[in-house]
């Protein structure tokens, strides 16, 4: 028997039940657990950021790598109040612009390759699939054709929203709208499923904890 493990389990059990008590209605126990969660999360992240960024940067600066001072100063510039009228207050735009430019420079090739180039390639090739014996793969073929129909009609929907003078575009756009709604619905369902799995995990934890403690 490990007393520390047991204390940990009991604490986790009580806190889990306290959070679940919020299902019924907010109560003091729920609010304590909520505040504790926020506090612990903030503390945890502070520690992680300190050891991942601040400490290595400090060590580099102490060991003579003064280049680290540039991001440090740039970071401090971000703290200049936005309502300041002083001439130097414009300096806060420098690090902000740098962040935007670097992020864009990194993301554009990734977005272009992943979402445009690769999506077009994998949507079209192969439109008709065959297995190793040369027989038609109906499932894969339907999937590929459906993908092309979905993509085309979804694009048509975006076009039809602005120009509704063509009946064909409008009808295809309506089909596209349907597919977009199906996609959004599926994403929501998957999110719900994920939260349910987490909920089930907590129920399992409660059951095991009750067995261990009592």
């Amino acid at each position: 028997m490990n007393i520390f493990n047991d204390i940990g389990t009991i604490t986790a059990l009580v806190l889990t039940l306290a959070v679940f008590s919020g299902f019924f209605k907010p109560n003091p126990l729920y609010r304590i657990a909520e505040s504790l969660f926020i506090g612990v999360s903030a503390g945890y992240f502070a520690v992680i950021w300190y050891f991942s960024i601040i400490k290595p940067a400090y060590k580099s600066a102490v060991s003579g790598d003064l280049l680290i001072l540039i991001p440090l100063i740039a970071g401090l510039l971000l703290f200049i109040p936005s309502n300041s009228e002083a001439a130097y207050s414009k300096l806060r735009f420098l690090p902000a612009a740098f962040i935007v430019i670097v992020t864009t420079a990194i993301n554009i090739p990734v977005y272009f390759s992943a979402f445009i180039q690769e999506m077009i390639r994998s949507s079209i090739i192969p439109l008709v699939s065959f297995d190793e014996n040369g027989a038609l793969r109906i499932d894969m073929t339907i999937n590929a054709i459906l993908s092309v129909v979905c993509i085309t009609s979804a694009i048509m929907f975006l076009v039809a929203r602005h120009r509704n003078n063509n009946r064909f575009i409008n009808t295809t756009g309506e089909i596209g709208r349907f597919f977009i709604l199906v996609a959004i619905g599926s994403a929501f369902a998957y999110t719900l499923l994920s939260r349910l799995i987490l909920f089930m995990g907590k129920i399992e934890f409660i059951m095991n904890a009750v067995r261990i403690v009592f």
Binding site: V110, S194, K202
Partner: protein
């Protein structure tokens, strides 16, 4: 007849909507302790899902990894997806350890730091690879939290020698870790696995890695949680992803294949049952809304 329906409608309207969660809880617990436990004794319940082609690809990649090679595992999930992804990661660690494959962990989100260690502990506790010890620095290592999202991915893909300089405990990997001293660039790994519950600027981490990485021989496999499935599925047949295990169903199939002792069938079957109840919950809550509107 009309009165009869009016009475039913009035009775339904009286039920508070939040009260519907309790029948679900009761049914879930009933299934958990009565139905599935009884079935377990009779060895009746089995995984009702067969591996798909995509899942088979992942099995093949894992089975063909050379003995004594090295793999990189990117841990991009936190407690919010622990229940889904931790068991899968623990199963994967078990398989890799059995083949004496060295594992380097790295995480790109702050709350993923602890997840790698808990998965290793879980793997040892399960006795999945017949070892009581899994030696840090020799058999696995943790490179810690790599800051920067897509920029971190770029570093991992192209400047791995910088990333691997120091581990999570701030000790030099070249001096203290035989495992990492054999690794210079990302090409020294046989495969990269990502366990993910979030994307970076909308792009899955492994896809971003694949776009930036020059060596296309390194296999890339993603494990994602259910809520990330819609972000990963478009890349399923692409050049950027060699294999995908996405969502609880795929994870259940994967664990069933590689770590049967984890008893995932029970959780999978309960999950399917709960989903069935949820559908009824949605139907009933909408019915309550409708009858309340009619009453007004």
């Amino acid at each position: 007849m009309r009165n009869f329906f009016d009475n039913i409608s009035a009775s339904i309207a009286k039920i508070p909507q939040w009260g519907l969660i309790f029948p679900i809880l009761v049914l879930m617990l009933f299934h958990y302790f009565v139905v599935f436990d009884r079935n377990k004794n009779e060895e009746k319940y089995k995984l009702s899902a067969a591996p798909t082609e995509t899942e088979m690809k992942v099995f093949q990649i894992i089975n063909t990894l050379p003995h004594n090679s090295k793999v990189l595992i990117l841990v991009n999930y936190g407690p919010e997806s622990k229940y889904e992804l931790e068991s899968a990661m623990s199963a994967l660690i078990g398989v890799l350890a059995e083949k004496n494959i060295g594992i380097a962990f790295a995480t790109m989100i702050p709350n993923g730091v602890e997840s790698a260690f808990t998965a290793v502990e879980k793997s040892i506790e399960n006795g999945s690879f017949g070892k009581e010890r899994f030696v840090y620095g020799h058999e696995y290592t943790h490179l810690g939290f790599i800051v920067g999202g897509n920029i971190a991915t770029y570093l991992i893909a192209n400047n791995f020698d910088q990333v691997k300089e120091r581990d999570i405990f701030d000790s030099s990997t070249d001096i203290h870790q035989p495992l990492m001293s054999e690794i210079g660039t990302i090409s020294d790994f046989s495969a990269v696995f990502e366990f993910s519950s979030q994307t970076f600027d909308g792009v899955p981490g492994i896809v971003s890695f694949a776009v930036m990485q020059k060596d296309k021989n390194v296999k890339k496999v993603a494990f994602c949680s259910s809520d990330m499935l819609s972000a990963y599925i478009p890349f399923r047949g692409s050049l950027y992803l060699d294999g995908l295990i996405g969502g609880f169903k795929s994870i259940a199939v994967f664990i069933h294949e590689f770590q049967p002792s984890l008893n995932i069938e029970k959780q999978y079957n309960i999950m399917s049952t709960i989903l069935f109840y949820i559908i009824w919950l949605v139907i009933f809550s909408n019915l309550i809304k409708l009858t309340r509107k009619n009453k007004k």
